[in-house]
Each structure stands twice: as structure tokens, then as C-alpha cells.
Symmetry: C2
Subunit: 354 residues, 2 copies
């Protein structure tokens, strides 16, 4: 197969971990006889520094022309505590999501048997956890207008908006995921307070009869924030709006004890994007110590979700498991044993595939 | 001292647990020579059924005339999955908070040595956790206008609004709490996305120089959702807006393993309200099995925050600790030993105080 892949390494440790994903993708392509063309483009703080825009048009063109985007991370502490900064790296991320129509952020949380002891939670609580969030990614309070300040600057406001169509396309994807999994769908909202949440709940209730095999539960976001910690195994597929998803998917990632390993996919209208969830982690940037496994597993999700190539996807998760078992891991996982460099882990994984 | 206390038992297990708090308050009053006048009033689903309004004017008058309100819980599953219900119990709660000016919800999370093993988290992660959230309670997306639907019903919207004054009064309370504690204040926001969050951050940054002894940290809400599970001991005082506070305080309550025991105080302009955080828990209502300790500890917070009577507050927490040590507990905590009834626990606590 011929594949056009856009590479957006971004900020912080992004470039280092994406470089390892590329090694792995190349090894898979060679083994299975695919032809891959990579095109690299700038985003985030790097792009602000270079051209004053965190998501330049040229980068957008590269993404549009791609079958899939491999994305590193965006974010730079220089901008975080400066509420008056005019351009922020995160704006690039949001613009990219919106312009590429990436309305569904797929965030699995699962456990690795060899890493269970790393979790802050007790083993019996998390063993076998296998849930996936579909977070709505191009609507809600992230994009609603009006937003800003009153003239005197004494008041600020944001608007959360959802249309039935936005909810419906995300919800249908949720039902379809549930059909392929354990057939349990949880709609997470705050319908006891928010008008938008009531539209979410109504819409999901209207669709439910079309998927009679799926059991649908409705839970308030605050209750889910608790139950995720108490008993994550209770969940299968969770659907939710943008801001709730932001909070809950990060919370969920930490229960597995393997946050540095969690990949994600953003699906939608114009292309598909694959991204480790760990963020730019600036403290580790440039040191060749960052854990590349989340980026590598994002490449595995790419073969599955963008190209429907399950053998290619599976061989990647298998070598990742092998690296964990054999201790070919970076310092965050090495536990007093030899710590490998980011680049060494990437090399090792690529060799195993070959 | 003479004290006027409004009793709002509310829905579900509210009446049962408030009854135990009353026994304890009476015992304390007798011991320390205070005169207490209780006035009971209706709220929630109970009030909808009785007079069609979850926070009737008569109830508001009782609260206004009180020095403190002891509140049970509001909420009834009859209303939860009916997005079209015209009146909801929760509206009464929100109206009460707004009309009484209860702008700061104080939610401590701490651990009980004898209950550490109940937590889903590992002991070493939580032992010694002692944090307190100040959640803004009368602003933000809970109250902002406009909210509702477009004419065709195809779109819904909510508005999040904050004024500098609303942020400042909550933030000042946060600095003052920090001064009396470990002098660490964490401002939780989403300043990389939301205009309201940027005003929060700016306001806190402006006030910080007035409290030079307090270390101020700024963290994004998604990061806090993770770190609360990873290392809750890192926090001392956290301030945040209404919706983030709703989610994070519930998450925090579960890490201690003692969710059924966590009290809260809502402070503000016209009176002070004290409330167990467990909610109405309808499945247990009427069975005399609900754990009354959170309501009883809310009464302890009442003596501290409404009347500045520390001896009275402390004796209550001491007898609660004693009941835990001696196993005079309801079935949620009895672990195969004898389970006491809600009312028996209340009687025992009152006797110990006498
Ligand atoms: C960086 C930030 C704008 C972003 C978000 O809130 O969506 C991040 O937290 C994420 O989850 O991808
Ligand atoms: C019942 C609901 C409206 C309420 C809230 O969201 O504030 C509750 O969750 C709480 O935290 O007191």
C-alpha cells in the first residue's frame, strides 16, 4: 500500500519520540511491502518562533494531503503563566483539530501486566481495565462564541455550544465502538445543570433504540470522576463532550500506571491524527530520555484506524510488550536496572520488527 | 451561646443522617451550656412534591434567620433521566446557594488511619493526605446567561461568566486558608483555553504579592485530575471555579477511601451551610443503614466555621475517631463485624459526648 504520512513533531519531547515512531513505521513498511512518504511540518511553539503562527497554512496543506498525521506534542512553559500572550502554542492545536474536522478523540486506557505495580491504585482495582473514551474534540466551550472580556476588563466569559449533529456523529461512533467491544456505552454529562448536557442526553436517548444490543448508562461527570478511580473495570466505552473529556481522559490515563505509554487517535472528516497523550514534557526535552512507547503505540493505532492493517498494528504492540518484558525501557520504567535512551529503544523495536 | 440552626434534611438518606447530627449537636450544647433552636424546612424533591418548588420562600426565610444551616442532601432518580422535567431538585440547591450568597464551598480531604486500607489507592500514596478545596459555588457555567436552546431546538448553549470580584473574594479566602495551613496555594484553571480561566489566573497573580509567605502554583485542571490520584499529598489549599471544583472535589473524596465520611462547609455572605458530600444515595434511603459520620463531621465544621468554637468542634471529631476505632460503624465500614444502624451510631456518639 502507498501511504502519505504527515509528521508534526511539535514541541518539547515531541521530535524525539516521533523519530522513534518513524523508525518503527519504516520497519513495518519494509516487512510488509508498503511504500511510505513522510512529509514533516512545523507546529506549536516551534512554529510561533519560526513564522509567528502555531499552525501555519503550509502545515495545514501537508496534513490535508496526508492519509494520516503523526503528531508529537504541543506546549511550552514560556507561554503558560503569561495570560496576556497574544499567540499560544495551544491555539495551533485547537485550530488544527477544527480545520481538519477531528471531532473524535479516541483514548484507550488499558493495563500492561508487567506495569501494574506502577499504578497508584491497587492491583485488584485495575487489573484487566480496558476502557476507551471518545472525547468530542471540535466543539463545546473550547470553540464557542462569544468568549473574551467586557470592555472594562472586569468580566470574562466563555460559551459552551453543541448542535444535535455534533453530538450525534460522536454518539454514533460511540455506539459502533461499543458494538465491537463489550457493548456498554456510558454517556458522561452534567444534565442536572447544563443545557448542553441535556441535549447530549436527549440525543443519545433518541439513538439508543437503533443499537438494541448496546446497554446505555448515563452518568454525571462528577460521579465518573469518582468511579474511574474506584472501579475502572466498570467501564467499556465512554462518550463525552470536549472539556469533560479533557479532564477525565487524563485522570483515566494515570490509573493504569502507564501514562507514558498511552496513545490516542483523533478521527474525523479530513484526515486522521495519531498522538501520544503525554504532552510536550519540556523538562525532559533534548536529553534522549523520554519514553517513546506512547508515540510508537500511536503508530500502531495509525495502522489500525487509518489503514485497517491489523497485522501491522499488532506487530507493533507485540514488540512494545516484548521491550517491557525484557526491560529495554527508558529511565521512567527501568527501576534501578539499566535505562536505555529514547533512541536506543526505538532502534531495538525497529530491529525486532525486521 | 445562643444558636439558631436551620435544618434542611432534604432527600434520600438526608433526613436519617441529619437526625444523627442533631443528636450530636444537642449533646455538645448540653455539655458546653449552649442554647440551640432548630428550625426545620423542606427542600429538594420532597419540596417539589409538597409545594412544587425545590427551594420554597419559606425555607429561604428560615435559612436567612439562621446562624448556620445543617443540610442533608438533594436529588431523586425520578428526575435524572427525564431531560424534559420542568422543575428539578438540583435547581433548589443552586437557588439556595445563590440566594444565600454561599460563594465558597470548603471541601477538605483527609485520611483516617483506621480506614487507609479502604482506599483504592496504595497506602503510601495517601497516608497523611491533608488538602482542602475552595470551590467557587455561585458563579461560572452553573449560573451564566444566556443558556438554553435555539428556536428549532437543534442547538444548546451554556455560558461561563466570572467577574474579578467573584474571583477575588474566593482567592483571598484561599490565601487566608493557606496562611493558616502549609502555605501552599494551587490555582486550578484551564488558562490555555478559557478566557474565564485567564481572568482567574491574572487575578490570583495580582493578589499574590499581598501574601508573600504563600507559595502559589498554577496548574491546569486536567493535570490536577492526574496528580490528585498520583500524589495527593502534594497539595495543601486548592482554589478553583465551580464546575472544575464539582469534578475535582468528588475525585479527591474518593482517594481517601473515606468518601462516606467527608463533610463540607459553604461560606459566604448571608449564612453558612454545612453538608455531608455523599449526596442523597436513594438506594439506602429509609433503611437506617446510611453512614451518618459525614453529617456528624459537618456539624463539627459548623462549630468551627460558624461559631468559632474549637473545643466543641474537636470533641465531635474525637468521638467520630473513637467510633471508627471501636467499630461502632454502619455496614459500609463494618467489614464482616457487627454493623450498627444509622440511629445506633448517632446514639452512641451522643452518649460518648455526654
Ligand atoms: C493543550 C490543551 C489545549 C489540550 C486540550 O485541552 O485539549 C490538551 O490538554 C489535550 O488534552 O490535548
Ligand atoms: C447536584 C449537583 C447540582 C451538585 C453540583 O454540581 O454542584 C452536586 O454535584 C454537588 O457537588 O453539590
Amino acid at each position: 500500500m502507498e501511504m502519505n504520512i504527515a509528521l508534526l513533531p511539535g514541541d518539547g519531547i515531541g521530535p524525539e519520540v516521533i523519530a522513534q515512531a518513524v523508525k518503527v513505521v519504516n520497519a513495518v513498511a519494509k516487512k510488509f511491502g508498503h511504500t511510505i512518504t513522510f512529509k514533516e511540518a512545523i507546529t506549536g511553539a516551534a512554529a510561533i518562533d519560526a513564522v509567528g503562527n502555531p499552525y501555519p497554512d503550509a502545515t495545514h496543506e501537508v496534513c490535508l494531503a496526508s492519509d494520516a498525521v503523526l503528531f508529537g506534542a504541543i506546549g511550552d512553559p514560556r507561554f503558560d503563566n503569561d495570560p496576556s500572550a497574544k499567540v499560544r502554542p495551544e491555539q495551533g492545536l485547537l485550530e488544527m483539530r477544527k480545520k481538519l474536522g477531528l471531532f473524535s478523540n479516541v483514548r484507550p486506557t488499558f493495563t500492561f501486566p508487567s506495569l501494574l505495580h506502577k499504578s497508584p491504585l491497587k492491583k485488584e482495582r485495575i487489573e484487566g481495565t480496558d476502557l476507551v473514551f471518545l472525547r468530542e474534540l471540535t466543539g463545546g466551550i473550547y470553540f464557542g462564541e462569544p468568549r473574551g472580556r467586557n470592555e472594562q476588563g472586569t468580566k470574562a466569559f466563555d460559551t459552551c455550544v453543541y448542535s444535535v449533529e455534533e453530538i450525534e456523529r460522536l454518539a454514533r461512533m460511540g455506539f459502533e465502538f461499543a458494538m465491537k467491544r463489550r457493548k456498554l456505552l456510558t454517556c458522561v454529562d452534567k444534565a442536572n445543570v447544563l443545557a448542553t448536557s441535556r441535549l447530549w442526553r436527549e440525543t443519545v436517548q433518541r439513538l439508543a433504540p437503533e443499537y438494541p444490543e448496546v446497554t446505555v448508562e448515563y452518568e454525571f461527570v462528577d460521579a465518573v470522576a469518582m468511579r474511574l478511580v474506584q472501579w475502572p473495570k466498570a467501564y467499556d466505552v465512554l462518550i463525552t463532550e470536549n472539556l469533560f473529556g479533557d479532564i477525565l481522559t487524563d485522570e483515566a490515563s494515570v490509573i493504569s500506571g502507564s501514562m507514558g505509554l498511552m496513545p490516542s487517535a483523533s478521527l474525523g472528516l479530513k484526515t486522521k491524527l495519531f498522538e501520544p497523550i503525554h504532552g510536550s514534557y519540556p523538562q525532559a526535552a533534548g536529553k534522549d530520555i523520554a519514553n517513546p512507547l506512547a508515540a510508537v503505540l500511536s503508530a500502531s493505532m495509525m495502522f489500525e484506524y487509518a489503514f485497517d492493517l491489523m497485522d501491522e498494528a499488532n506487530i507493533i504492540s507485540e514488540v512494545v510488550n516484548l521491550s517491557l518484558e525484557k526491560g529495554i525501557v527508558t529511565e521512567d520504567l527501568s527501576e534501578g536496572e539499566k535505562a536505555y535512551k529514547t533512541s536506543e529503544v526505538g532502534d531495538w523495536l525497529a530491529e525486532q520488527i525486521a
